[in-house]
Symmetry: C2
Subunit: 124 residues, 2 copies
């Protein structure tokens, strides 16, 4: 019902859709650099643009993708609302680490159980 993979889906330990979605957003060189700066606490658009030598509209674009998957939060400055501050969403980061760790856990690796090939008698 969740998906129609005959064999594989039964033991998938995580929400694969969410994991793929977030990995896709992170798997981009400049976005990963932006995220890295956010991990260090740097936050406003202009700072990111200066540090990474990227135009502000590109920063905006990449940040909107990071926001779309919940990895980054936004807050406007209380004194001068022209400034917006970006930060890593801690809960999403924890979720990401948990999902990634569960999926890529080396202990999940199983030895080959041949259902096919000349050393098997099941498959044609």
């Amino acid at each position: 019902m969740l998906n129609y993979i005959p064999n594989g889906s039964k033991s998938v330990p995580v929400n694969l859709e969410l994991l793929t979605e977030r990995l896709k957003v992170l798997a981009e060189p400049k976005r990963l650099l932006i995220f890295n700066l956010l991990m260090e606490g740097v936050q406003c658009n202009c700072e990111l643009g200066d540090s990474l030598q990227m135009p502000p509209n590109l920063i905006s674009h990449h940040l909107s993708k990071l926001r779309a998957v919940g990895l980054v939060d936004v807050e406007r400055d209380a004194v001068d609302s022209r400034w917006v501050y970006y930060s890593v969403n801690r809960a999403a980061l924890d979720e990401l680490n948990a999902a990634f760790g569960a999926f890529f856990d080396p202990n999940r690796i199983q030895p080959r159980r041949p259902n096919c090939g000349p050393q098997s008698l099941i498959c044609p």
Copy 2:
């Protein structure tokens, strides 16, 4: 020399190029499903195609991308070399987990140190 990011690069704890490269390969729904089956020990092309209901040439294509970044190994059957068996490269998986864990470590999150905005006196 390594790269020309003025501020951000100094404390990046991992090889960002390799991490991005591998995440890019994994951040694709069907490839993640293939990799999931390989974690479970299923290995030959035909099995993957049957389980995921995908044509063998597509399986080949995705597996070649997983191989290209070292995450998957290939071995031909000793008895009948028409069959090829795919497996997760344990060393690469460990590397991936180490890099991911180091980069997305929640302890890396720092509070904002304003270099910009109205609450700062440095930046215009």
